[in-house]
C-alpha cells in the first residue's frame, strides 16, 4: 500500500478504510484498508477502472455510506458512530455534492436549487458570496429557469454552484462530466478549478476521463480496493499512461465501484 504523503492540513482523510458488500462467500471487498488524505485547498481526482472502489471511497467519505472497518475524517471530525441525524447535518454543512445525473429538483428554479441546502438548514445565503458564485458559473440570466429549461451543462453548473454556496469543507464530484459533451465538460471542470484557485475550495472528483483529471492538482489511482499509485501535476497523457499500467478490470467484475 502506498501511503499518501501530505504535510499540509487534510480537509478529509481515511484511515485503514475497509468496505465489504455482502456476507460470506459472496462478499465483495470494495475497499481494502485504504488510508488517503485530501489536502485543503487542493483539487484531487480519484481514478481507477470499473470496480476499483473509487465511487465507494467517495460515498464513504461523503457520509453517504458507512465503513465496514477503519475511519473517515472530515476535518478533525470522525464519522464513526455518528447518528443519521448528525451525518445528515454534516453533509448539509460541511460537504458539497456534484453528481453525474445533475440531480436538480425539477420543481425549483435554478436560484431555488442553488440556495436549497442553506434553506434546508434554515440559513440565508451570504449575498456577496452568492453573487460571486453565480457570476463564477455564469448563470446570472438563467436564475429563474426550471431545470427542464436548461441545457445539461447549465444544469451541472447550477449543481456546482449549489455545492459551493454553503462554503463546505470539501466538495465531492462524482463523474461530473459523465453526461456532458466536451464544451460543457470544459466549463464545469474549469469552474471547479477556479473554485480551488480563487476561493480556496477543496474538491475531490471521481472520474475515468484522463482529460478531466488533467484539470486537477493530484490524481489518486485505485485498483481492486487499494490505492495503487498517485500523480501530482497530472497531464492527460501522463494519466493515460498510468492507467494503462494498471491491471485492467476483468469483464464482468464485481459492481462494487
Amino acid at each position: 500500500m502506498t501511503a499518501a504523503v501530505e504535510t499540509s492540513s487534510a480537509a478529509a482523510r481515511t484511515s485503514e478504510l475497509t468496505k465489504v458488500f455482502g456476507k460470506g462467500p459472496t462478499a465483495v471487498r470494495a475497499l481494502n484498508r485504504v488510508s488517503v488524505q485530501f489536502a485543503a485547498g487542493r483539487y484531487t481526482a480519484v481514478m481507477g477502472p470499473s470496480g476499483s472502489g473509487k465511487s465507494t471511497l467517495m460515498h464513504c467519505m461523503a457520509a453517504l455510506d458507512t465503513a465496514t472497518e477503519g475511519e473517515v475524517f472530515i476535518g478533525e471530525q470522525s464519522l464513526t458512530g455518528l447518528s443519521d441525524k448528525a451525518l445528515t447535518a454534516l453533509r448539509r454543512d460541511k460537504i458539497g455534492f456534484v453528481f453525474q445525473q445533475f440531480n436538480l429538483v425539477p420543481t425549483l428554479t435554478a436560484h431555488e436549487n442553488i440556495v436549497l441546502p442553506l434553506g434546508i438548514a434554515g440559513r440565508n445565503p451570504d449575498s456577496d458570496w452568492y453573487d460571486t458564485v453565480v457570476d463564477a458559473v455564469g448563470l446570472r440570466d438563467r436564475l429563474s429557469h426550471k431545470p427542464t429549461e436548461l441545457s445539461g451543462g447549465q444544469q451541472q453548473r447550477v449543481a456546482s454552484a449549489r455545492a459551493l454556496l454553503s462554503r463546505p469543507d470539501i466538495v465531492f464530484a462524482d463523474e461530473p462530466t459523465g453526461n456532458l459533451d466536451s464544451t460543457a465538460s470544459a466549463e464545469v471542470l474549469g469552474f471547479l478549478r477556479r473554485s480551488v484557485d480563487e476561493f480556496g475550495q477543496t474538491v475531490v472528483m471521481v472520474t475515468h476521463d484522463p482529460s478531466a483529471a488533467a484539470y486537477t492538482d493530484r490524481v489518486v489511482f485505485l485498483d481492486d480496493g487499494r490505492v495503487v499509485a498517485e500523480l501530482t501535476e497530472p497531464t492527460a497523457d501522463r494519466v493515460l499512461e498510468r492507467m494503462k499500467a494498471l491491471t485492467p478490470a476483468a469483464p464482468g467484475d464485481a459492481q462494487a465501484g
Binding site: 443519521d84 429538483v105 420543481t107 431555488e112 438548514a121
Partner: protein
C-alpha cells in the same frame, strides 16, 4: 398478454394493495348493505311464519292495511264467533286472540325494555298451533297466566329486566290506563329471535278488561284445519259462516301480506344504505383512475419498449385492463369479506335503535356475492379504461427517450367536458326539484353527482389558486421545505386534482347535509316561535304513541287551560298510500298551532271535514268544498275540504283530520303529542312539575316547555345528521386512502429526488414534514372545494324546498371551518406511512435510481 400483466402485479405488491383499497370499501358497502337487509328480512320472515295460524279471521281491512300492521286497528270480533268457526267442516279447532301493540315492560329503574323502535306486544294466552303445527310459544319457566294480575313474559325481556318469578312487573300501555302492574308467573321462549321486540302474555279476560272495557271480544281468530283440509279449503268454508265486515284469509297469504309490508320498509333501509354505497364507489372510482394513471405513467418506458418489440396498441390497452381485472377481482373479494364486518357493524348500529339481531346469523345470499363482484370488477375496469387507452397511445420511440411524457388530454378539453357535465347535473337537479317523490330525489341525487364529477374534472384548474396560496403560506412558515411541499402539490395538477376531488365529493355531501341540518334547526326555531302557541308539549321521545289517558289527566290538572292531542297513522287518501297523516280536535288545536289558510277558512275545520296542505292540494287538485276519500282499516269516509293551509312542520302531515275520522276508521285512540295551554295567572313551572309527576312511570313520555321542545327537535335532527355523517365517513376514509395512495406512488416516483435531498442535507424529520405538508395541501384543497360545493348545494336545495320547513337559511360557518381543519388533520394522518417510507429510503440506492 396475461402473464406479463400478472407478473407486473406481483412485482408491485404494495401498489396493488393500495389500488385495491379503493374498490374494497365500495364493494364492502354494497355487500354489507345486502347482507344486513337479507339478515333482517330472514329474521322477520321467521317471526311472521311462526305467528300465523292456518286460517285467520279478522275484521275486514280496507286500504293498505299499514295501520293494522302497526297495531293501530282496535276493531274486534264477538267472542261467540269462535264456537261457530270451530264447528265448520274441516276445522279441528278455533281459538280467539287478543293482541295489543304498545305494551312495554319497565325494569326496576323504571326504564323501558327495548322500545327504541321494535314493538312491545301484549297477547292473551292461547295454545293454538300456528300454520306449521307448532306452539307459537313454549313455556320456559313457571306457568302461563291464569286470572287477572298475572303475566308471563318472553325469556329475553325477563333476562334483560332482571325480574324473577313472583316479582311485580310494572308495564306501560297505550290503553286507557297508561300504567299497569302484574305478578310475573312464568317466562316463555318464542320459536325464533324476537329482534328486540318484547311480548307479555296476559289472561284473556284480563286483556279484555284492560283494553276493551271488559267486552267479550277477540281481535282475531285462528281456525286450525284438520289433517285432510287445506288452508284454502278451510278459508272458503269459514268465509260462508262470517258476518258482514269480517274476512277469512289463509295463513300463507296473511304471512305474505306482512312480509310485503316489512319488505317495503326493509327495501327503504337497503336503498338508504346503497345510496352511501354508490357514493363510496364513485369516490373509489376516482382513486382507481388516479392510481392507474400514475402506474401507467411510471411504466411508460416499459410499455413503450413492449410497443417497440411489436406489441400492438390494443394489446397494451388490454395488458393494463387485465391488471385492472385482477385488481377488481382481488378488491371485490376483500371487499366482500369486509362487507361481512360492515354488516356486523350495521347490526350493532341498528341495535342501538333497538333492532336486536344478536341472536340471528348473518344471511349471505348468492345474489350478494354476484352483485359485489359485478360492481367491483366493472367499476375497476371502467375506471382503468381511460389510463389504459392512454397507455396504448405511447409511441414505441418513447422507449429510447429520456423522460417519457404520456400523451395527455389538454386541460382545456377537461374544462369543457367538466362544464358540460356540471350543466347537465344542474339541469338534472332542477328537473328533480320540479318532480316529486322517489324519482325527484333520484334526479336531484344524480344531478348533484354529475355536478361534482364536472367540478372534479376541472379541479386541476380550479384548485390552482388554493394550492398557490398554500405554497406561499408554507414558504413563509417552513422555508425551503415548505416551498418544496407547495411545489410538489402543484407539479402534477391532474394527480393532485383527482386525489383532492375524491375527498371533495365526501366533504361536499357532508357540508350539504350540515347546511341543511343547520337550516332545519333554525327553521324549526322560527316555526315554533311563530306558530306554536302551546305553552307545554307532551311527547314521546322516540315517536311511539302513548295512552290517551295522559291527555285526559293533563286536562284535569290545576292551571291547565286546554290539552289537545295530535294523533298520527298511515292511511290511504284519494287512493294514494300516505306514510303519515295526522288528526286532532279542531277547535282547541287552532289555538295551539297557527295554521295559515291559503284557501278557505281554518275555522270551518270541524268533524266531517279535513284540512289539506298546500303542496298536496296542488298535486291532487283540491280546493275548499271538494270531497276526498279517506281509507282507514275500518272503511272509506268521504270528507269535505274545509281549507288549504300553508305547509308547516308542526303537523308535518299532508292532511289534518279530526279525531272522529280516525275513530270511525277503526283506529285505536293513542296520541303522539299533547299540546297544552295554561290558564292565565298560573305559574308555568309549577304546572309543568305537576304534569311531569303524572308521567313519571312512563319513561318515554316527557313534558316540555317550548324551549325544551325545540331542543328535543334539534336533538333529533342532530341524531339523524350523525347517522349520515357516519355513513359518509366511509367515503371520506376511501378518499384519505386515496391520498395515502397518491403520496406513496409519488414518493416511489420521486425516489431519486428524495435521495438527492437527503444527500444535500435534508433531515429525515424535514423529509417527513415535506410529505406531510403536501398531503395536507391535497386534503385542504379537497375540503375547501367540498365545503364550497356543499354550501352551493345546501343553498340551492334550501331555496327549492324552503316551503317544506326550511324557510330560514342558516350556514354553520364554524362547523364548516372545523371540517377543513379536520381534513387537514386527516392529511397529516394520510402522510404518516408515505412519509416514513420516504424518510427510510437508502440515500445511495435512491440517488442511483433511474
Amino acid at each position: 398478454m396475461l402473464r406479463p400483466a400478472l407478473r407486473n402485479l406481483l412485482a408491485r405488491k404494495l401498489r396493488l394493495l393500495l389500488s385495491t383499497f379503493a374498490i374494497v370499501i365500495g364493494v364492502a358497502f354494497v355487500a354489507g348493505s345486502f347482507v344486513f337487509t337479507d339478515t333482517l328480512d330472514e329474521a322477520f320472515d321467521s317471526i311472521v311464519d311462526s305467528s300465523v295460524g292456518d286460517v285467520i279471521v279478522r275484521p275486514e281491512i280496507a286500504g293498505s292495511g299499514d295501520a293494522t300492521f302497526q297495531g293501530l286497528d282496535q276493531r274486534t270480533l264477538p267472542a261467540d264467533l269462535v264456537d261457530t268457526l270451530a264447528a265448520v267442516p274441516g276445522a279441528e279447532r278455533a281459538d280467539g286472540n287478543v293482541t295489543v301493540t304498545g305494551v312495554f315492560v319497565l325494569d326496576e329503574n323504571g326504564d323501558l325494555i327495548g322500545g327504541q323502535g321494535p314493538p312491545g306486544l301484549a297477547v292473551n294466552y292461547s295454545d293454538a298451533p300456528n300454520a306449521a303445527g307448532a306452539q307459537v310459544a313454549q313455556l320456559a319457566e313457571g306457568e302461563w297466566p291464569d286470572g287477572a294480575g298475572e303475566v308471563t313474559v318472553d325469556a329475553g325481556t325477563a333476562e334483560t329486566s332482571g325480574y324473577e318469578i313472583g316479582d311485580t312487573v310494572p308495564l306501560v300501555s297505550v290503553g286507557d290506563t297508561p300504567e299497569l302492574e302484574a305478578e310475573l308467573v312464568g317466562t316463555f321462549e318464542f320459536g325464533t329471535a324476537l329482534i328486540g321486540a318484547s311480548v307479555v302474555v296476559l289472561d284473556t279476560d284480563d286483556m279484555r278488561g284492560i283494553f276493551f272495557d271488559g267486552d267479550d271480544v277477540f281481535t282475531d281468530i285462528w281456525v286450525t284445519s284438520d289433517e285432510s283440509t287445506s288452508q284454502a279449503e278451510l278459508a272458503s268454508a269459514v268465509e260462508a259462516e262470517l258476518p258482514a265486515g269480517v274476512e277469512a284469509i289463509t295463513g300463507d297469504s296473511a304471512a305474505q301480506e306482512q312480509k310485503d309490508t316489512i319488505g317495503e320498509a326493509l327495501a327503504f333501509i337497503n336503498i338508504f344504505l346503497l345510496v352511501f354505497a354508490v357514493v363510496s364507489v364513485v369516490v373509489g372510482t376516482f382513486i382507481i383512475v388516479n392510481t392507474f394513471s400514475i402506474l401507467v405513467a411510471q411504466r411508460s418506458r416499459e410499455l413503450a419498449l413492449l410497443r417497440a418489440l411489436g406489441a400492438s396498441r390494443p394489446q397494451i390497452t388490454r395488458l393494463v385492463l387485465l391488471e385492472a381485472l385482477a385488481v377488481g377481482f382481488i378488491g371485490s373479494t376483500i371487499g366482500i369479506g369486509l362487507g361481512f364486518l360492515l354488516a356486523l357493524g350495521l347490526r350493532a348500529l341498528f341495535a342501538t335503535f333497538g333492532l336486536d339481531l344478536s341472536g340471528t346469523d348473518l344471511v349471505f345470499r348468492p345474489r350478494t356475492l354476484l352483485l359485489s363482484y359485478v360492481v367491483g370488477i366493472l367499476v375497476t375496469l371502467v375506471a382503468a379504461y381511460f389510463p389504459a387507452r392512454r397507455a396504448g397511445r405511447i409511441a414505441p420511440v418513447e422507449a429510447l427517450r429520456d423522460g417519457v411524457a404520456l400523451p395527455e388530454t389538454t386541460v382545456r378539453r377537461r374544462l369543457v367536458v367538466g362544464a358540460v357535465l356540471s350543466a347537465l347535473g344542474a339541469g338534472l337537479v332542477t328537473a328533480g326539484l320540479l318532480g316529486t317523490g322517489g324519482q325527484g330525489a333520484l334526479l336531484v341525487g344524480g344531478g348533484i353527482l354529475a355536478v361534482l364529477l364536472g367540478v372534479a374534472l376541472a379541479t386541476p384548474i380550479l384548485g390552482r389558486p388554493v394550492l398557490v396560496g398554500l405554497r406561499a403560506a408554507y414558504r413563509r412558515a417552513y422555508g425551503a421545505v415548505g416551498n418544496l411541499s407547495g411545489e410538489n402539490a402543484l407539479r402534477n395538477p391532474r394527480r393532485t386534482g383527482a386525489t383532492a376531488s375524491a375527498l371533495m365529493i365526501g366533504v361536499a355531501l357532508v357540508a350539504t347535509v350540515a347546511v341543511l341540518g343547520q337550516t332545519a334547526k333554525a327553521s324549526t326555531d322560527e316555526i315554533l316561535n311563530e306558530q306554536l302557541a302551546a305553552d307545554i308539549v307532551v311527547s314521546n321521545s322516540i315517536g311511539q304513541p302513548f295512552s290517551p289517558g295522559v291527555a285526559e289527566r293533563a286536562a284535569e290538572t290545576d292551571g291547565v287551560d286546554t290539552a289537545v292531542p295530535l294523533r298520527s297513522a298511515p292511511a290511504t287518501v284519494e287512493g294514494r298510500d300516505e306514510f303519515y297523516v295526522a288528526a286532532t280536535e279542531p277547535e282547541p288545536f287552532a289555538e295551539m298551532v297557527t295554521l295559515d289558510a291559503v284557501a278557505g277558512d281554518v275555522a270551518d275545520f270541524t268533524d266531517g271535514t279535513v284540512l289539506v296542505e298546500e303542496g298536496r292540494a296542488e298535486d291532487e287538485g283540491l280546493a275548499p268544498g271538494d270531497t276526498i276519500t279517506l281509507t282507514l282499516p275500518g272503511g272509506d269516509q268521504e270528507l269535505e275540504v274545509a281549507a288549504v293551509y300553508e305547509q308547516e312542520p308542526i303537523v308535518g302531515s299532508p292532511y289534518l283530520f279530526t279525531l272522529s275520522a280516525f275513530t270511525a276508521g277503526g283506529l285505536r285512540p293513542q296520541d303522539t303529542y299533547v299540546y297544552i295551554t295554561l290558564a292565565e295567572g298560573t305559574d308555568a313551572n309549577e304546572v309543568q312539575a305537576a304534569l311531569e309527576a303524572q308521567v313519571t312511570d312512563l319513561p318515554l313520555v316527557s313534558v316540555k316547555d317550548q324551549t325544551e321542545f325545540a331542543d328535543e327537535i334539534r336533538g333529533q335532527i342532530d341524531q339523524f345528521l350523525r347517522l349520515i355523517y357516519a355513513l359518509l365517513g366511509l367515503a371520506i376514509v376511501i378518499a384519505v386512502l386515496g391520498i395515502v395512495n397518491t403520496l406513496a406512488l409519488s414518493v416511489i416516483e420521486r425516489t431519486r429526488e428524495v435521495g438527492l435531498l437527503r444527500a444535500i442535507g435534508m433531515q429525515r424529520r424535514q423529509l417527513r414534514r415535506m410529505v406531510r405538508l403536501e398531503s395536507v395541501a391535497i386534503a385542504v384543497l379537497g375540503a375547501v372545494l367540498g365545503v364550497v360545493m356543499g354550501v352551493v348545494f345546501g343553498v340551492v336545495l334550501q331555496r327549492a324546498i324552503a316551503d317544506q320547513g326550511l324557510q330560514v337559511l342558516s350556514i354553520p360557518v364554524v362547523q364548516l371551518v372545523v371540517f377543513v381543519v379536520l381534513a387537514a388533520l386527516l392529511g397529516v394522518l394520510a402522510a404518516v406511512l408515505p412519509a416514513r417510507r420516504a424518510s427510510r429510503l437508502d440515500v445511495l440506492r435512491a440517488i442511483g435510481t433511474e
